[in-house]
Symmetry: C2
Subunit: 330 residues, 2 copies
């Protein structure tokens, strides 16, 4: 295992210390493993909390800041954060208007966020959860009942964050979060495995010319394995899966996301094929992201997420955001 770390035991806390040192706009509670905005909660604003295993950076800590999340709870690598972390985060961002929990659909995450919500409600904090489950690859999976939550999480956090920043009530913020999830579909492809530091060996093995179609962000199995084919064919498999689940139409927001070990030049090759595919269906990509947004350590591969936009969602997408990983408009 070749990694730029001090030890497998300290990788999450060392990285959190790095986040704290790099981003003065964030407050990092290293002991409790909670990242919040440095300024504290915004009076009267709905608080947005997300979290999940580490190893998917910049998700979620990189999305804490103006116009997006109020707090993130990173677990150990590929391991759910614990309810106590989520409770600390929920209390920290509560400004009296309620707190939205944005939860990727993995059994541990869902259970722990439910427990944290109950504890917070005992404190008199209104908590509303939204579960993200956009991965069309498989119905159930390792760690998951139902579909996995993947790339749509970035869209949900951005768009719900923008609405919360405007002072909308929690019911509206939760509704737009659910709407973005319902309008989004994703599919991922792996060229290589990744190695969890504490495990010290690759999570799975792929042959020299083999790829996994429908990979999960923790290396969970997808639909099938096959030979590596040209980018346009790989993209067609991914987008056929997306399109057969929710036909691509109208104006769409697309993310071509690197899994952590994929060079940007390849992501642009993929984006070109995605653009041709979607244009060929008569739809129009009006907004896009190309880069590393929800990763799986050093895995090579990509995922594509398509969200059917409305004018209202486009406007919220365009609203100012100021986080380590997404920043525009101010």
């Amino acid at each position: 295992m070749k990694k730029l770390i001090n030890s497998p035991d300290s990788v999450v806390t060392d990285a959190l210390a790095g986040v704290a040192a790099a981003h003065p706009g964030l407050a990092v509670d290293i002991e409790n493993k909670v990242i919040t905005r440095a300024g504290g909660p915004t009076p009267g604003k709905v608080g947005l909390v997300s979290g999940g295993g580490s190893g998917h950076e910049p998700l979620h800590g990189g999305f804490v800041g103006y116009g997006m999340l109020d707090a993130a709870c990173p677990g150990e690598v590929f391991t759910s954060p614990v309810p106590d972390q989520m409770l600390v985060a929920t209390r920290a961002v509560n400004a009296g208007a309620g707190v939205l929990h944005i939860v990727k659909n993995y059994t541990g995450d869902v259970l722990n966020f439910e427990m944290a919500a109950e504890l917070a409600q005992d404190d008199g904090i209104e908590v509303v959860p939204v579960v993200v489950n956009d991965d069309v690859a498989v119905q159930d999976s390792l760690y998951t009942a139902g579909r996995r939550g993947v790339g749509a999480t970035v869209f949900v956090e951005k768009i719900a964050g923008a609405l919360a920043e405007r002072g909308a009530p929690i019911a509206d913020v939760a509704a737009v979060a659910a709407e973005v999830n319902e309008r989004s579909r994703s599919f991922g492809v792996a060229l290589t495995s990744c190695t969890v530091p504490a495990a010290g060996k690759p999570t799975f093995e792929l042959g020299e010319n083999e790829i996994e179609l429908g990979i999960g962000i923790h290396g969970e199995p997808g639909r099938h394995r096959g030979p590596l084919t040209p980018a346009r064919e790989v993209v067609a498999v991914a987008l056929d899966a997306v399109n057969s689940d929710l036909p691509v139409s109208g104006d769409v927001l697309v993310m071509v996301n690197g899994m952590g070990g994929t060079p940007l030049i390849e992501l642009y090759v993929i984006y070109n094929e995605v653009h041709k595919y979607i244009t060929g269906k008569g739809a129009r990509i009006t907004r896009n992201l190309v880069g590393n947004y929800i990763t799986s350590l050093e895995m090579q591969g990509f995922s594509v997420t398509v969200c059917q936009l409305t004018d209202a969602l486009t406007e919220l997408w365009d609203a100012a955001v100021d986080t380590p990983a997404l920043r525009w408009g101010r």
Copy 2:
């Protein structure tokens, strides 16, 4: 070779088509391989042109836009662009105030930019070159007489771009570019090699537990190879090299840059060690970048670049920028 491409021959043009589709703020001349701002040259502004081999994305095309470059010329992977490309770019951005060529110190790049400058001067365009040579690892190298140009290129493009945006004359823009280069030092480390698509096999080989200290961005040899040690020791080797060349002091701008295949969680572990090292020298990191800015395809590893700031340079660093890879302030 596992890559998300259609073929080794088309990787650069396919990626350029992806850049064109993704970024409406850019104009991409795929035939000539030149990326400019979509709006054309800004009247009265000095034009900034950079370029170099592809495979280092987002450098340079991802830095074209308001407050930074006016044009970028991508060559084939790890291959200098040709003078004709640079001439097309220079003509395209000429607004009568002269054009700055920002050239990383590799023999092919330097010669080809010189030739392009002569041709442009025949057209009556004033061209001033600035050569970036910030890599302290080795004096001469494959492809290079003198030091290699690496991470400081990002700083030069940002800071000179900000001054040009304010309408400064070309002598001043060139002077600040040279000043940033003189105040900057870099050192890179590789954990793995990378594979140039046309070559089809890794550029070099490293043992299972071996790293290359002082690696170049094309996989050129560094100072020596050694065993992988904890992150804090690797960082100490890198920053001892930087510090013994130009002692770290005062306010500094630091970039912890991923080589393309390094997960962000590891870059934050590295940043934490860099922060401790520099603070321990009595200096202060007042601005930073952590992420993939000048890469080497899918190489795992990192580089660290330190620039000694002045108040004037800090102000130019903070000025608004709007490019695919760096965006703030508007």
